[in-house]
Amino acid sequence: MTDLEEQFRTLDRLDAPDLWPEAQKRQPGTRAPTRPRHPLAAAVLAFTVAAAGVGLAIWAFRGPPPAPKPRPAATPGSERIAFAAYFNGRWQIFSVDADGSDIAQLTDLSTDQFYPAWSPDGTRIAFSAQGGDGFMQIWVMDASGGDLERLTRGRAWNYLPQWSPDGSRIAFVSSRDGNEEVFVMNADGSEQTRLTDDPDEDLSPAWSPDGDRIAFQSNREGNNDIYVMSADGSQVTNLTNTAASGEFDPAWSPDGTRIAFVSDRDGDPEIYVMDEDGSSVSRVTRDAAHDRSPAWSPDGSAIVFESDRAGTVGLFVLNLDGGTVLSLTDVAEACCPAWQPGVPQETGASPGVAVTRCTQVTTSGDFDGDGTTDEAEFIEVASGSVSCDRDGEVFENLSSQEVLVRFGSGQTLEQPFTDCQGGLCAYVFTATDLDGNGRDELAIDLTSAAAIGLVEFYRVDPDGVRALVIADPGDPPFVRPGPAILGGGFDSGVQSPIVCRVNENGSRELISIHAENVGDRLSGPWKVHTTTMVLQGDRLVVTSTGDAESSFPETTGIPSFSKTSPFENGCS
């Protein structure tokens, strides 16, 4: 038997070059397709630094906002959540009520079991079991762990089962032809048919609720993306199409309109939701941990997922209405949850419980471009009777947040806002026309306990508020990851003002400034990072980044920026 560890230790015989000098002098991104440096970058930097140095109003420095108080997860029905957990040295299948109670072990086999999947009537569970020969095979059992039946055989990996919505078939992944492909079989294991045929790996099939399509992940274009195909394997479409990030674990919402998935486009795996055609992508978790394996609640109001945010990999429930996340179980190592289908439950506040709506901040602009003024409000909703002091901020019993827009046309839009994850939010809430097309965008500061000064931009349409997409590295034109990428998650504690500049030719640029103390005193010296962006469609494309040191010679303390006028020049 070949000792692999010994084989890999031979790599130590390779003499590694010293690449640190090269890394220090290297301009990041020089390998990738680049775009000429923006000619206005130097002028922009001078302008922004001057603006910051002269016109600074003090932004009262607050400590990190208090952590949001948890609220109940989505009102659970009688459904259970199946999952795999590491117990007594092996991975076995368990189930638990959606409120975290009544945990039960369903399998007690000598090998590892993963990937439970409920039949649409909620009575059976398909799962993957590793056999004595090392290969995984698909089995089914009833919801209590009895009546075991094996569906696949052979010297290949058969795993990741997903039941069709009518219960007649099961999609799964098999390596029988040399690499992972999506297959489908009848629910009794007969008529196993290959749906995908590609030299790369196709994984994680997920049926659309109407049974017509199957979403899956594939690295056929070099990195993992979410694809969708007809249920017969034809008409394959790449829904995410990102060159620089991985997208995986698709899960179709029960109403068929949305797909939850995982992406690491912002640095670490988070749960995202997009429309079923790949549009309107929004991030629904925001945590430094790895969030994966989303599965929808039957009523579509919540998503259960696995995350290592508590140290070990456990299961959490995200309430999409309020953005709150609660731990489902305290099982130390758990993965791959699946929510039992069931009758949708009524959600909302319990009868008799008062709810207080506090308008924290308002702004006005022309979001739909019809020439009339639209009014936007950021509303915090608290359970019970609380006062709306302190500019409407709710410090206790915060249950959810909303954006309300009253359009000049008479239409009203009221939408839950989950990007703040239940934390304090919207210190900046401003309308601005980033691209000069006559339609304002909405800037919202997503300050949270984890990061201060994040401003993200949203497009406001009569049917919804959607985050603008920051272009990915590698997207044309090339975006170089820099220290002040908008919404990128820097956490040094100094505010990042956003300045909008209108150039002489009428073009508009968005400039993000981030000051970093690189000295040993509060007075500095400071390094000022700037990032210049333009809006192209729904994408904010970074055109240049720059650094300048010691830019606050007159400053004796932490440089501060204006809360009320983040858009210093022209775009407001």
Binding site: D200, V313, N517
Partner: protein
Amino acid sequence: MVQDALVTAGGLEQLYRDDGARLWRALVAFSGDRELASDAVAEAFAQAIGRGSHLRDPQRWVWRAAFRIAAGELKDRGRFRPPLADPGYEMDQPPAGLVAGLSRLSPNQRAALVLHYYVGYATKEIAGIIGSSPATVRVHLSQGRKRLRRILEEQDD
């Protein structure tokens, strides 16, 4: 914050001193190409320097970035370049057989095996680097291990 900035400035160089050679060798095993490995390491650290104190976990970020850069470059070239194509690679060195064997695995299997057996990462950490889930990494590891053993044993025959 002042402390953070100071720690970060020297911290990345220390990270390079601690991890740079290991990362480079892991990338040689992953790509079969010393030049590509050098480029990916230098680029990943250059990007980390550019991000300064904003990286939450510089070590994890650098490993992930370097493997992504290398994987992207391999894709652009149209697959794994066998060691013979690299004039700087001395084929009589023992890792040559291993690298040749790895070249016959899928990129994810290759990355999982290198990160597990050479670097010692657990499945969760590997998942973070290659952008997959721990459960899937376990599958890549199990499958890749079996295939690599068979390939290496064939080489010995």
